[in-house]
Amino acid sequence: MTSDTDRTRRFNQLAEAYSTDLYRYAMWICSNDALAKDLVQETFLRAWRALDKLNDTAAAKSWLITILRREYARTFERKVPKFTDVEYVVIPEDAELEPEERTERDLLRKGIMKLDPKYRDPLLMQVVFGYSCAEISEQLGSSKSAVMTQLFRAREKLKVQMQKDGVTGNVHELF
């Protein structure tokens, strides 16, 4: 009975700690609110069933991301078309921002969605989950140097896109 209680408590802690970041990550990789929620729910359902296999709580975040990424890949095995038309993505409004900040944020969001997944994935892992280059490299199965290059290029592409769109406020001159 105690182990059941512990298991439940452990799971609840994982859900409290990681569900928001996993939803954000899911939202950015699939660009669809309903699918993102579904992916997160499925991820935690699988995590609940396999919780006894998680020996190291410190590895929980990485474990959950792996489950979510696999689940996302399965979505395509089921031949569900991708929903990437940025114009139709509904993102809930966050804290109140000044108009200029909102413009900058919206352009950045468009830019992130347009990024090739090979640049977007490591960038999201760094920004959403706070991962180091080494951790991203482990998660994605790439070399650390490749990840570092992808991170640099991801930011470079975003900045170039912002400059094209005429936002110069906080964006540093690249060249």
């Binding site: 859900a15 729910q41 409004e93 966050d94 900040e101 964006v171």
Partner: protein, 238 residues
């Protein structure tokens, strides 16, 4: 040997918030380095702001509900041992108590609807794509035929007494009605539940069941045949 400016900017692009000793030394070595670091930090704040989309209200609770009501994986050794000491009738009763958070389907329907049922009805005017309907139904090994899917204006996965199900809001000539599909739950056929200002009709399907929930002014019985004919259940890889 000190870092040159190109190398410094490259490393800023890899990890703008790095507190690496070498980076800190380089940052303090000249004003242009310091400015580049400040610009990178500003960009990072904007990036952080852009990615921080708000998670849906109640996400954690939905996750917990779905997980805690999911059927547990069977552990065959304890089950075999238990089988030697438990009589079938007793086991059925105990199993219900262990795997359900609600004492009955009636309690579940009332509890589940009272959480956000009215709110979902009120906010469900935008409609939902057929892709989303099919995807969610496929998760439940089911399919909604056009008679039903054309009416669905909201759908989400939700907890049920026996694992996941679907919570739908459908349009009818009497106004929006809620349908909860419970893929692994059997109900008392035709039972009408009454709670608050609502009533709910329980209907068994080939696999699982539904609760059709409306206000007491709505005739939910009228929807029974449509739901029964349109909700195809127990499919494999629909």
């Amino acid at each position: 040997m000190s870092m040159n400016f190109s190398e410094f900017k490259r490393r800023l692009g890899e990890d703008p918030l790095s507190r690496d000793e070498e980076m800190l030394r380089a940052r303090n070595s000249a004003p242009e380095f310091e400015q580049a670091a400040l610009d990178a930090e500003a960009f990072e704040r904007a990036l952080q702001n852009a990615v921080n989309i708000r998670a849906p209200e109640g996400l954690v609770n939905t996750i917990l509900d779905i997980a805690h009501t999911a059927p547990k994986r069977r552990n065959w050794v304890p089950l075999a041992m238990a089988a030697t000491v438990l009589l079938a009738v007793g086991a059925a009763g105990i199993a219900w108590k262990q795997s359900h958070r609600w004492d009955s389907v009636d309690a579940y329907v009332e509890d589940h609807y009272s959480k956000d049922g009215d709110k979902l009805v009120a906010n469900s005017a935008d409609g939902v794509s057929e892709k989303d309907i099919n995807r969610i139904m496929a998760r439940l090994d089911a399919f909604a035929g056009p008679q039903l899917s054309d009416r669905i204006r909201f759908i989400k996965l939700c907890p049920t007494p026996d694992g996941r199900g679907a919570h739908m809001v459908v349009s009818t000539s009497q106004g929006p009605v809620t349908i909860i599909y419970m893929p692994n739950t059997k109900v008392s056929e035709g039972e009408m539940l009454v709670f608050d200002q609502m009533h709910a009709l329980l209907v068994n399907l080939d696999h699982g069941s539904v609760a059709i929930i409306g206000t007491r002014a709505q005739n939910v019985e009228n929807l029974q045949a449509m739901v029964r004919n349109s909700l195809k259940t127990g499919l494999i890889d629909a």
